[in-house]
């Protein structure tokens, strides 16, 4: 119970944020928020000892048991690692944000509520064993990311970036849902663990490949893989703590998580290996190549994130090869998945610190444009040191953790050339080559990032603010992360034993049964291996190209803007949807509401009467009709007279009163048709409605005298008659034929024994069909609040215009 509830702790905490923000203005709201991830990180740490030995913990809370949907918290090596990343980096980011976001100027409650929603959602994604709840949390991360990117919603770019990320990730999420549904149809369960157990049988299904591709689309869009990466650079409009948290350390790794989690199911498919490894490698190269084109500090980091995600993705793809090799646990193929997880941890540390430094530079100088920056080294020594550590780690230099995982990455890529199935014999050698080239570019942009910002000539005039070192509180988080970067280099095996090996067991259950079976020892020095020579080559060529950067950076202008993927997105959004579709819908959407009503009221009888005729559904019989009753006939007469008066009344008041009369007549109908509840309700409601009409009377316009054109009047009459005829026909046919017995028999039998009530109507409302009632009162509340808003909140037209401050 506690374990599942922990998923919702941030969500519940979010409920209290507005109170803290409104009532305690003197303390930065972030301090209260900080408690949540700190508590969670401690809670999840208690699981480390048992799970690092290969244990798993699962706890379920049934949600919709009849459909097999439940909230699950499944902790194994993989999900515990992610949970610790989410809460751990989360704590650091919240701490950082306290100093980044101004207490007086910013809408902190919005920010922290979104952030906490995200935290819950992300924990849910990595711990859900049930695919439906996984999907639910998955979309919730997209939505909270949307809200966070658009946090400064009065900036055009923020809104654009938010929409773009939402469009792409949600579209991917929908694909993934399709994949999930297909998988569950094949396996008969929503549980991922159960599906893993029947993995070989699943592969025999025809739809297996479709499910595979759909799920990969979800993972690729979320993890910003080629060609879907375009949303990530635009997402950099978010406040920097968000970029550090969502767009480098956690949310974008959800796709990685998904691929890792589903590897045991899909690893036996050739397509899986090719897609994951191939797209990952392409993304790795693409991202690292285009990072050098960027001039915005966060832009560089965004492309670098894209590239690093590609790196991890390709390693996971190569890791799936181990499935096809006998005794892979003792061969070179064992390294890839291990390297993926190891690099994931390392990337979170160094990229998190780099983002925070980019935020500090932005905060203290007022710009992130690398062309204006330079020479900050002496002014911001601490930031410079942190940036140096992060960049060197990213470049893959010792003594930083990036070196270890980069070496291992090269080992993994080299192993591909030894694999001879699935055409890998032909194309396999390309893998290490591309990986090497991409690593060179990674090296260059790492240097580009740190040295263009911190060394060179300081140009104070170009900076909007007078630069100085950041406040100490802002430096705590990046310094902690940077210390981790160094620490992991010196104690890699502690980290891998605790976190990496259990996670690898979860990814490759076909190789290992417990973390002790993973015989990989990380060491900085392997002797003169090919990896070492590759690294030396990277450093030499990288330095060479870095120093000549200004000479060849023009290369990037060769590719015309017209053919980029961004242009394709813009074209789809603006031209295809924005312009063409508007033109098409403009043909019938004229803006005249009456026309729309005529469309609807014409379509309904055409469709319904058409169905009655073609399906031969019309029937008419007197059988089972209750006898005509005198009171009933009198009431019908009153009803008709009342209605006619309502329609043809010349004055408002007559019409309103006549409508009231019709209402009271209806309540009398309820009396004679044995519906006491309805009669009571209708009577009271009619009274209140008439009171309402009379209160609003003062504000309402008089009936206009202006006559209609005869042609429209005729058409109007014709449409109304058609509707009336349709209703009568439907009522007659539904009375004359009853194919299915009413469920009411069940209600009548169980109302006392099961529901403990006597008034069946009321019991239906509060018990049998309580959902209807719940939604109904929600609708009612919305109507009430909207009325309140329409009357009380009158924004003048000028106030509404808060474009780009």
């Amino acid at each position: 119970m506690l374990q599942v509830l922990c998923l919702f702790v941030p969500l519940i905490a979010a409920l209290f944020i507005p109170f803290f923000f409104k009532k305690i203005r003197n303390v930065h709201t972030g301090w209260f928020v900080l408690i949540v991830p700190l508590l969670l990180v401690i809670y999840y740490s208690t699981y480390i000892p048992s799970i690092s030995k290969g244990g798993t913990v699962i706890e379920q809370l049934p949600w919709i048991p009849s459909l097999g949907i439940s909230f699950v918290s499944y902790l194994d090596g993989l999900s515990l690692l992610f949970s610790l990343l989410i809460t751990g980096i989360g704590s650091l980011v919240v701490l950082y944000s306290i100093f980044y976001l101004d207490r007086k100027k910013e809408q902190l409650h919005n920010f922290y509520i979104y952030l906490l929603i995200f935290m819950s959602a992300m924990l849910g994604v990595v711990q859900s064993d049930n695919m439906i709840t996984l999907y639910l949390f998955w979309e919730l991360t997209s939505i909270s990311s949307f809200l966070l990117i658009g946090y400064w919603f009065n900036r055009d770019k923020s809104r654009f970036g938010a929409l773009k990320s939402m469009m792409i990730t949600v579209a991917g999420g929908m694909m993934m849902l399709g994949g999930f549904v297909l998988l569950s149809m094949m396996g008969g369960t929503f549980s991922i663990r159960d599906l893993i157990e029947q993995a070989p049988q699943l592969a025999t299904n025809d739809t297996f490949v479709i499910a595979l591709v759909l799920i990969l689309l979800g993972a690729f869009t979320k993890s910003a893989q080629f060609p879907f990466y375009i949303w990530l650079p635009d997402a950099m409009e978010a406040p920097t703590p968000v970029s550090a948290y969502l767009h480098s350390a956690t949310m974008v790794k959800a796709g990685i998580y998904l691929v890792a989690r589903f590897t045991p199911i899909f690893a036996l498919s050739e397509i899986w290996i090719w897609l994951v490894a191939g797209i990952g490698l392409l993304t790795l190269f693409w991202g690292s190549f285009f990072a050098l084109k960027q001039t915005d500090l966060k832009g560089i980091l965004a492309y670098s994130t894209v590239s690093q995600l590609g790196l991890i993705m390709s390693l996971l793809g190569v890791g799936a090869i181990a499935y096809h090799v006998d005794g892979a646990a003792d061969t070179v193929f064992k390294y890839a998945a291990f390297a993926a997880i190891f690099h994931l941890i390392n990337h979170a540390t160094f990229k998190g610190s780099l983002f925070m430094i980019a935020g500090i530079v932005d905060h203290e100088t007022g710009t992130r444009d690398i062309r204006k920056l330079g020479g900050l080294m002496s002014l911001m020594p601490v930031s410079f040191t942190v940036a140096l550590i992060g960049s060197f780690s990213m470049a893959g230099l010792p003594p930083f953790n990036g070196f270890l995982s980069k070496e291992m990455f090269l080992t993994g890529m080299l192993s591909v050339s030894e694999f001879d199935l699935f055409n890998f014999a032909t194309w396999g050698p390309l893998f290490p080559i591309i990986a090497w080239v991409a690593s060179v570019f990674t090296f260059i942009y790492s240097f580009y990032f740190v040295f263009k910002t911190f060394t060179g000539k300081l140009n104070k005039e170009a900076l909007p603010k007078k630069p100085h070192e950041a406040p100490i509180g802002m430096l705590i988080s990046p310094v902690i992360l940077a210390s981790l970067v160094v620490a992991i280099f010196f104690i890699p095996n502690v980290i891998t034993d605790l976190f990496v090996k259990p996670a690898v067991v979860a990814i490759q259950p076909f190789l290992y049964t417990s973390p002790n079976d993973v015989h990989i020892h990380v060491s900085a020095w392997h002797g003169p291996t090919p990896e070492l020579f590759m690294t030396i080559g990277i450093i030499v060529l990288g330095l060479l190209l870095f120093f000549t950067l200004s000479k060849w950076q023009k290369v990037y202008n060769v590719l015309p803007e017209r053919f980029t993927i961004n242009r394709l997105y813009d074209y789809t959004m603006n031209e295809l949807l924005g312009s063409w579709m508007t033109r098409v819908s403009g043909l019938y959407m004229t803006g005249s509401i009456r026309k729309y009503l005529v469309y609807m009221f014409t379509a309904i009888p055409v469709i319904v009467i058409g169905t009655l005729i073609f399906k031969n559904a019309f029937a008419f019989s007197f059988n089972g009709a209750s006898p005509v009753n005198l009171y009933g006939v009198i009431l019908v007469a009153v009803l008709v007279i009342g209605t006619i008066t309502t329609v043809f009344a010349k004055s408002r008041i007559t019409s309103i009163v006549a409508l009231g009369a019709v209402g009271y007549t209806v309540s009398l109908f309820f009396v004679i048709f044995n519906a006491p509840d309805l009669a009571l309700t209708q009577l009271v409601i009619e009274t209140i409605s008439v009171a309402l009409f009379l209160m609003a009377f003062y504000h309402l316009p008089r009936f206009s005298k202006a006559e209609e054109r005869t042609r429209f009047k005729l058409g109007r009459a014709f449409v109304s008659i058609a509707i009336g005829a349709m209703v009568t026909l439907v009522a007659l046919s539904s009375h004359s034929q009853k194919f299915i017995a009413s469920i009411s028999e069940y209600y009548k039998e169980t109302v006392y024994s099961e529901a403990g009530g006597g008034n069946i109507v009321n019991v239906i409302l509060v018990d049998y069909r309580g959902f209807d009632t719940l939604f109904e009162i929600a609708v009612l509340a919305i109507a009430g609040i909207s009325i309140y808003a329409m009357i009380k909140l009158r924004l003048s037209r000028k106030e509404k215009n808060y474009e780009n401050k």
Binding site: I688, G756, A781
Partner: protein, 140 residues
């Protein structure tokens, strides 16, 4: 022109309480005989409307200083809470519980979580109706 409303105002005070207690009665009786949260809520609202007609909005506001939007919120939370409660004891969403008790004065009484849900409905209906009437009435 000032209309003398003495008789209306005098009776309204009495009738208000009669209608209000009638509303409470139908609300509680609703599970066994006609009535329930909807009707109860509407009747209560109509009692307050009667007061508004007899006196005026401001006077009634002073008599019953209630922010009806909060009433709506409380009602919704109560209804949702009752429905969600069963989830925490391991039953599906919206499972109701009831049992019969012998209470002093009342004798055999059934206590039913559905009544709590119905109370939520009651509060929402009162709240929304009064919010609508009050805001329209206050609008100049």
């Amino acid at each position: 022109m000032k209309i003398n409303n003495v008789i209306l105002q005098f009776t309204a005070k009495f009738v208000f309480f009669i209608i209000f207690f009638f509303a409470v009665h139908i609300f509680f009786a609703g599970h066994y005989t006609p009535g329930g949260g909807f009707v109860g809520g509407l009747v209560t609202a109509s009692a307050i409307v009667l007061l508004i007609i007899a006196f005026d909005l401001n006077t009634v506001q002073k008599l019953l200083p209630i922010n009806y939007i909060y009433v709506v919120a409380v009602g919704l939370i109560l209804a949702l809470g009752t429905a969600a409660f069963s989830m925490f004891v391991g039953e599906p969403f919206f499972t109701h519980f009831f049992d019969y008790f012998y209470l002093p004065l009342f004798g055999k009484t059934s206590l039913h979580t559905a009544a709590l849900f119905d109370l939520g409905v009651y509060l929402v209906v009162v709240g929304v109706t009064m919010t609508i009437i009050q805001t329209i009435g206050e609008d100049e």
